[in-house]
């Protein structure tokens, strides 16, 4: 039990946010209207992705320092789990954009930069597949991962602030801070972030265990 409490917590939090996020009152804002509820489902994806990519970079650094295979597997599997959340973040954003902006993809800077930062990680997986020798692969992939991470941070957190975007929080559009006045949303948003981050970590540990078993059978 003492090892599973956080999984139960994550499941409970996500179920709670799914119910409360759809049923509780939200502030009425022009344009956004009811789609403001997407905050509970779209934004936590990015938080989970960034946390998983940070774990991945952390293990890449360790893998470079120690040359141990287990760290390399941890780095790959957390990047894998992070990519899932990145794709989910883009999809939830695109569905939301269909109903507020009229199109799934309107080449908004935020959308473009998010897509490019995913390309960075797809390039990471292609790089891994291009090298056969395991130790060499671990080393070079770790180096690229560490090299790509600051670029991902620039892409997701610096560049969108410099360009005009229709995304909430940019260019005078109401952002998270202005909904924040309404503490009802906080009650759902923070648990949602925590819940999805833990779910992401759980997916990562599952993938890691599967991979470790596969490797031990070789």
């Amino acid at each position: 039990m003492y090892k599973t409490w956080w999984k139960i917590l994550a499941a409970a939090l996500v179920v709670y946010t799914a119910i409360a996020g759809l049923l509780l009152e939200v502030p009425r804002l022009a344009i956004l209207n009811e789609t403001i509820r997407n905050l509970y489902f779209h934004v936590p994806m990015w938080f989970a992705m960034v946390v998983l990519f940070t774990i991945s970079v952390w293990y890449s650094v360790k893998s470079l320092g120690t040359q141990k295979e287990e760290y390399d597997i941890k780095a790959v599997e957390s990047a894998n789990a992070g990519i899932i959340f990145g794709v989910l973040g883009i999809v939830t954003g695109a569905v939301w954009a269909k109903f507020t902006w009229g199109q799934f993809w309107s080449f908004d800077p935020k959308q473009n930069f998010a897509a490019i930062s995913l390309l960075l990680y797809f390039a990471y997986f292609i790089l891994r597949n291009a090298i056969d020798e395991e130790q060499k692969r671990a080393k070079i992939a770790a180096i690229y991962n560490i090299f790509a991470f600051p670029m991902m941070v620039v892409l997701l957190f610096v560049l969108p602030r410099l360009q005009d975007s229709l995304h909430p929080g940019n260019g005078g559009n109401p952002g998270f801070n202005s909904y924040d006045l309404d503490s009802r949303m906080r009650m759902v948003f923070y648990p949602a972030c925590l819940g999805w981050i833990i779910i992401g970590y759980w997916i990562y540990t599952l993938r890691l265990r599967i991979k470790t078993i596969e490797n031990s059978q070789l």
Binding site: L64, F113, I116, S117, L119, L120, A123, I126, L127, A130, I131, K136, K139, I140, A142, I143, Y144, I146, F147, A148, P150, M151, V154, L155, V158, L159, L162, Q163
Partner: protein, 220 residues
Amino acid sequence: MQLAQQVKHLIKKEVVLEWRSKYALNGVLLYVVSTVFVCYMSFLSIEKLTWNALFWIIMLFASINAIAKSFLQESKGRQLYIYTLVSPTALILAKTIYNSLLMIILTVIALLFYTLVFDFPKDTDILMYFVAAILGSLSFSTIFTMVSAIASKTGNGGMLMAILSFPIIIPVLIVLIKFAKNAVDGLDRAVSLDEIGLLGVINVLVMTVALLLFPYLWRD
């Protein structure tokens, strides 16, 4: 002190090698000239926005071609020889400095030829555009040198070079194009200070990460 000596000798070696064959210089120049020519024949007259975008696209591919060879074309034997002589930090520093010099020369020549074929649009801040071009060539060389070092280790470097470097270069390219567009529009110079700062920060970031990581990368 020893590091500076090593860097100096390595840069000298690169310059002498390049001067002997003049392969990169002539090859890339010919590439730029023929691309500009093809563009001229297909565009004839050109709008401001396209003018700027076209220049950066030409420079992007020219610099990938010029810099990809810095690690990819060194023979295994020569690499081993260099590795026994100098420190990895000196090697990556020398390569980056040499590539920056090469790219600055190439970019200035390319820009001169480009403006010979397509005139500068009206009210361009020409000095600012040159600053943008030089900052651009610096950023291209720092990023592509490190990526070329990574790609050279994989065996099939040519294609990986493009796959690995494009997602990294796109943010830089976006900032550069915006900066250069400010210059083309003849906006006040203070407007572009943000972009210059951001490019500087990205360059410093890339150089630090490259200096930290290259010692792990170079030994097989």
